[in-house]
Amino acid sequence: MSETTAHDAVDFAPPSELEEMELYHAKTWIGKYVWSQDAKVIAIQYGITAIGIGLVALVLSVIMRLQLGFPHSFSFIDPSNYLQFVTMHGMIMVVYLLTALFLGGFGNYLIPLMVGARDMVFPYLNMISYWVYLAAVLILVASFFVPGGATGAGWTLYPPQAISPGTPGVGGGIILMLLSLAVFIVGFTMGGLNYVVTVLQARTRGMSLMRLPLTVWGIFIATILALLAFPALLVSAIMMLLDLLIGTSFFMPAMVSLGEQTAYDGGTPLLFQHLFWFFGHPEVYIVALPAFGIVSDLLSTHARKAIFGYRMMVWAIVAIGGLSFIVWAHHMYVSGMNPYFGFFFATTTLIIAVPTALKVYNWVLTLWRGNIRLNVPMLFAIGFVFTFINGGLTGLFLGNVTVDLPLSDTYFVIAHFHMVMAVSPVLVIFGAIYHWYPKITGRMFDEGLGKIHFWMTFLGTYAIYYPMHYLGLEGLPRRYFAYGDTAFMSESSQDLNAAISIAAIIVALAQLFFLYNMVVSLWRGKKADDNPWEATTLEWQTADTPPKHGNFGPELPAVYRWAYDYGVPGAADDYIPQNVPPKDVKKA
C-alpha cells in the first residue's frame, strides 16, 4: 500500500491481450505529409482545412454585419447575395468548421495519444476520410461560382423555398450544397468508425474506460451521436435532391410559384423539418460535447486540481448525448405542428438542461480552491464557463413554447445560438490550440499576444452578442436584408446594430493576433519541454515532442491511475502522470 492517497492508483497493469498494430511507415515526403496515414498529420490537415474555410465564413459574417450596421452603404451587398452569405456562413461554421475541427482535428490528434495507442485502428480509412472531407469543402466552395451562385435558403435549407425559383442559388447552388453535405457525411462516417473503434479497442494496458480523460469521453460520445444523427441529414438531402431533380413531391406541396402552378402536389415541408432537426439538434451537441470534455481537462490541468465529480461528468456526457435525440422539435414550435408535440419537447428540453447544469457546477467547483495558473489556455477555459452559462440560460427561455413564440426567428435566437455555439466552443478551440501547441509544434507561443487575443475576443464577443438579445426582445427579425421604417422597432435599434457591427469587425481583426502568433511562433517560439503544463495525461508523456509516427517510442505506456492526480497528498510534485506506478512516485 503506497503512502500517497491517490484516487485509483495500483501497481498493477494487466498484460496486453492483443498484438501491437503494425504501422505503415511512408518513405517519401508526400507519403508522410500529404497522403499521410499518421493520425497526427491527418489531424493537422483537418485543422488547417477547417480553419481555412472558417476564415471564409468569418469574412462572410463581417460582410453581413456591414450590411446590418450600415444599411445600403455598400453597393456590392444586395438582398440576394446577403441571403447567400447568411446561408453559407451558417453551414460552413456549424458543419465544416466546428464539427470537422472537433472530431476530425482534435479527435484525430488526441484520441490515439490519450488512450495510449500508436495510431487510429484503421489508418488508411482515416487518410481517405480527410480527402473526402476536403472534396466536400471544395464542392461547397464551387457552389459560389456556378450560375446563380450559392444557395440562399438559410443554413436550415427549408423547402419549398430552398428549391423554388426566387431563392438565390436555386440552380446549381442548392444541388452542390446538398451534394457537398452527402460527401461530408460519407467522410465522417469513415472517420467516426475510426474514433469509436480506437477508443473501445486500442486503449493501452491499464487504461480502463473510467481512467480516460474527459476530452476522450466528449469526443467519443459526440462521434456516436454523429454516426447516428448524420443519416437524418443524408435522408433529407437525398429526398430534397429528388424533389428538385426528378420532380418527386416528398416535401413540396401543391403551390403556385412565380405566378404559375407547379407540378408538385401532396408533399409536406414539415417532414423536412422533422428530418432536418432530428439531425440538427444532435449536431449542436456533436459540437458541444467535445468542447465540454476539452474544457474539463483544461480547467483541471491549469487549476492543478482533479476535475470535480469525474464520474458524474462522464454520465452527464452520456445522458446529454442520449437526451439530445428527443428534443429536436423545440426548433419547430412555430411550424404549425401538433401543439401537444410542443409540450412534450419543451419538457425534454428542460430535462436536458439538468445534466448540462451539473457539468457547469462541476467546472466551477473544480476551480474552487484550486491553484489557478492564469495562463492563456486557462483564460480561454474560464471564458468558456462565463459565456456558456450566459448562452445556456437564454436557451431556457427559448425552450419554453410560449416564450419562444414571440422570440422565434428574432435576433434573440441568433444571440442565443452564437453564445453557445460560436463563442463558447470557439473559446475552447482557442484554449485547446494554445494548450496543445507546445506538444504539436515543439515550441511555446507568445504569451503576451495570446492574452491580447483572449481579452479582445472575450470582451468583444460579449459586446456583440449581449446587446443582440435586446434586439430580439424588441422583435427584430432574423435573415432580413434591411428593416426600413417599421413601427415596432425603435430608432435606437439601428444604432445598436451599428455598434454591434463595429464590435464584430474589431473581434474579427483581433483574430489576426492569433494567426500571427501561431505561425510566427513556429520559428521564433521558445523550444518547449515535453510537458510544459505539468499535465498528467498520456499525450504529454511521449518520448519526443512533437511525437513521431508511432507516438510513444519502442514501448507503449502502461497506465496505473486516472487522469486527474493533481495535488495528491503525500506526493512531492503537484501532479502524477498516468503512466507512473505508485512505487515510483516521489514522496514529499
Binding site: M1, H7, D8, A9, V10, F12, A13, P14, E17, L18, V121, F122, T189, G192, L193, V196, V197, L200, Q201, A202, R203, R205, G206, M207, S208, L209, M210, I224, L227, L228, P231, A232, L234, V235, I238, M239, L242, I246, G247, T248, S249, F250, A263, D265, G266, G267, T268, L271, H274, L275, F278, R311, V314, V318, G322, F325, I326, W562
Partner: protein, 227 residues
C-alpha cells in the same frame, strides 16, 4: 419518426447497458478493489471471450449507422403515407424473383464462410464467385424492375409511392454495390493466396453484411407490398 425513435432507444439501451456494466461497479477508491477494477474492457466477442476484432466491431458500428439510415427512410415513408394523395403501388412481379436471387446470394456467401472456417479454399472461391454473380444479377434485376415501372408510366410523380419506390430500392442497391466493392477486395486476397485468417475474416464480414442487406430488403419489400 416513432420507428426511428424505437430503434434509437433500443440501440442506446444497449450502449448504456454496456457502459454501465463496464463502469458502474468500479470502486477505485476502495483499496483492494482497485486491482480488480483495472480491465481493458474492450468490446469482447459474445461467443469466445476474446477481444472482438477491430474490423468486426467496425462492421457492427457501420450496420448501426446503416440501420439508422433505413429506419429514417422508413419513418419518412410512413409519415408521407398518412396524406390523402397516397396511392398504393403495384410492384412489378420481377421483384419476387429478385428477392429469390438475393436470398441465394446470401446462401452462397454463408457457404463460402463455412468453407473458410474449415480452411477449404475451393469452397470459398465457389461461394464467393456464385454469391457475387447472384448479387450482380439482383442489381440488374432491380434496374429491370425500374425500367418496367417507368415504361408502364409510373415515372410520373403523381403518386408519391413511386418516388419512394425508386428511393428505397435505390439506396438499398447502392449499399449492395458498396458491398460488392468490399467483396472484390476479399477476392483479391484469395487471388494473392494470402493467409487463411485474413481470408476468413474478409468472407465473414461480407457474409454478415449480405445477410444484413437481405433482412433490410425483406423489410423494405414487405413495406412496399403492404402499403
Amino acid at each position: 419518426m416513432t420507428i426511428t425513435l424505437v430503434f434509437l432507444a433500443l440501440l442506446m439501451g444497449v450502449v448504456v447497458w454496456w457502459l454501465v456494466k463496464q463502469t458502474i461497479n468500479i470502486t477505485p477508491w476502495v483499496a483492494d478493489a482497485a486491482t480488480e477494477s483495472v480491465r481493458e474492457e474492450g468490446v469482447r466477442s459474445p461467443f469466445t471471450t476474446k477481444p472482438l476484432s477491430n474490423k468486426k466491431l467496425a462492421l457492427g458500428v457501420f450496420l448501426a449507422v446503416a440501420t439508422s439510415l433505413f429506419a429514417l427512410f422508413i419513418s419518412a415513408y410512413s409519415m408521407r403515407m398518412e396524406y390523402p394523395d397516397w396511392r398504393p403501388l403495384t410492384e412489378p412481379s420481377l421483384l419476387w424473383m429478385n428477392t429469390g436471387i438475393l436470398v441465394l446470394s446470401s446462401v452462397f456467401l454463408q457457404w463460402a464462410w463455412n468453407g473458410a472456417k474449415r480452411g477449404e479454399l475451393q469452397t470459398v472461391w465457389r461461394g464467393v464467385a456464385v454469391g457475387g454473380a447472384f448479387s450482380i444479377a439482383f442489381i440488374v434485376g432491380q434496374m429491370a424492375a425500374w425500367d418496367q415501372l417507368a415504361s408502364s408510366g409510373f415515372f410520373s410523380m403523381g403518386n408519391p409511392a413511386n418516388g419512394f419506390f425508386y428511393l428505397l430500392t435505390g439506396v438499398h442497391a447502392l449499399h449492395l454495390i458498396g458491398g460488392l466493392i468490399a467483396l472484390s477486395r476479399t477476392v483479391s486476397r484469395l487471388w494473392r493466396h494470402e493467409d487463411m485468417e485474413s481470408i476468413e475474416l474478409g468472407v465473414e464480414l461480407c457474409a454478415v453484411y449480405w445477410h444484413y442487406l437481405l433482412v433490410i430488403w425483406l423489410i423494405l419489400f414487405g413495406l412496399l407490398l403492404t402499403t
